[in-house]
Subunit: 353 residues, 2 copies
Amino acid sequence: MKGRVIVDERKLKILAAVVDEYVRTGEPVGSKAISKLDSINVSAATIRNDMAALEQLGYLEQPHTSAGRIPTFKGYRLYIDELMDAPVLTDDEKLRLDSMLGDKDTPEELLVQNAAAALTELTHCAAVVTNSVPRFSVISKVEVIPTGKRLYVILLITSSGNIKNKACRLEFDLNHEQLEFFTHYIEENLSGVSVDELSEEMFDKMVAAVSAYMVSLSPLVKGICELSEDLRHQELTVSGSEKLLSCDELDKMEVVRFIEHKNGLSEMLEDTFSGLQVKFSSENDTFAIGNSSLIVSKYRKDGKEAGSLGVIGPMRVDYKKIIPYVEYLTDKISYLMSGGEDDTITEVPDTDT
Amino acid sequence: MKGRVIVDERKLKILAAVVDEYVRTGEPVGSKAISKLDSINVSAATIRNDMAALEQLGYLEQPHTSAGRIPTFKGYRLYIDELMDAPVLTDDEKLRLDSMLGDKDTPEELLVQNAAAALTELTHCAAVVTNSVPRFSVISKVEVIPTGKRLYVILLITSSGNIKNKACRLEFDLNHEQLEFFTHYIEENLSGVSVDELSEEMFDKMVAAVSAYMVSLSPLVKGICELSEDLRHQELTVSGSEKLLSCDELDKMEVVRFIEHKNGLSEMLEDTFSGLQVKFSSENDTFAIGNSSLIVSKYRKDGKEAGSLGVIGPMRVDYKKIIPYVEYLTDKISYLMSGGEDDTITEVPDTDT
DNA sequence: TTTAGCACTCTCACTCTTTGAGTGCTAACT
DNA sequence: AGTTAGCACTCAAAGAGTGAGAGTGCTAAA
């Protein structure tokens, strides 16, 4: 306790240097290595003192006494939020990403798939994509189509273009009038309702109302209810998860469990606000893989959130490289999905120079 | 080269014993272990000689000189095809499987799901199920539903209950008459056509015919074409694939890649004839996981092939146990799906004693 | 043809040692 | 005060040596 530990300018510089070095080499970094860097010109001994202070503050840790230091998640957090110099993609890189992504004519689904593939290739990490049904999309059409004796297909379509179907068997056949009544009733009650508003209780009420007219209609309502649940459930795809197995800083068993169940991922993605975010498993105990980080951003369609795109990797990952990638890709996807009119980025399309 | 190597009765017995022991213990098995078995009563030295011969013939191999022998895939092949004594399920086992499977009232889809779940649980391997669209199923309905300006949803339904949909954007809106014409034309040309008969050329012709009436209809035909391709593509579900990750004889990377892409599986399943089959990845280089084996059989509905059910595991797997399971389950599924009238098994349903 | 015996091989687990990187502390220096 | 050089210390990783154990191939006898 000799003198309070202060995070002066130099200590921060050293922290940043440690993170950079550790990310680069993967080895714990010692005072000597730091002292050799151009950006720092104090002796190793001084750095040792500062590093000890940074360790006491919880930004660094030692795997064992005679090893160098590695950043803690707290250290990474500070680095990412404050210390890291904002990097800019070169035009070459942008062109490369553009070519991997596709253009205006690429179907939206393929667009995000391509983005995920690009990310796994460029970062050697797993990519995660959610194709979330926008909260604001509404039911635009419900159809019930007879397809056989007592067999019906329910079709549910949203304003954002999602289509779900489901076969449904009834106890009796419906005559034209009954079918008419039902579809009319459903259209009246559901069309224009936002996906977010759909709830169990709502369907319970509808079952009651419909049953009053004809009991055997209730399976249809239940079918629609199930479809709407499907709809609310955001689709989540992880690609390139095999990359995680070759990261030795991740626990293989945990990775395996994650690949199986995607534990905690959707939770982690859910409470994401619109900008780019970096989250560490250590800060969020629902996520299954220890020592991992998630770099994620949302893409928009016509200005509204339409899904997320991100990278899952070990905490030791090249943030300087990955963050611009994710940012650029989500911006570009937003741009392409909106037919080239996303307000947040106006300068992206021109890749002259 | 002193004397030709002959596969006499005893050598086969020894091979079988080696396989059994290896499957049981997972360790390379030596001459001494074999000589101790009741079924074999010659000395270890004799067994050593025979094992050397079996190795020369390619049925066994040594991980290293001072270790015991393990079967090669050729050894397993011989074992499974010729040596293994046909085991019979006990009534207890049958009852257990029956209870896991379901009964006549269980929906078909659930039936195969249950079977897969039962297999993963009992064998600790992954289970694979194909819910193949039966070759003989026919298009029962095609609908085109307008859902927005220039936006249509195509719905394709088969006699076996498969439903596919797809959104389709046209250059112009269709009026009632045009839509009528189109659906009528399609229904006329497709309904009743078996899934197997659908072909590119057929759709090419239809595009031509439809275009003569109205050029901008062709995207719809193309959409239907794509849907029908989807349809022909058998649905393939692998469940319990996480089990494969805990098999240390399998390469984790290969397993993960397989889980993501199911490489080579459908090819491997496709050239399957009706009885139970065991295939090794070593005999089929399209399949992604080395040292694995696939034990698969087809189930039938009303006497016609309706899908496959099987187990994917390491080559070292308890064939004596798994084969009867798969056989019993496929037979039982066939029986249940056919309403208790599949000719190939008449005695299954009675589980008295 | 089978068996017993024996020398040989090779892996695995264990221990001991060395090496080298990196530290913390102290004392001198600015 | 803060910074630096020097030094003793710690610890993991890598290598070398050892002994046990399992299993083999070969030879010679039954």
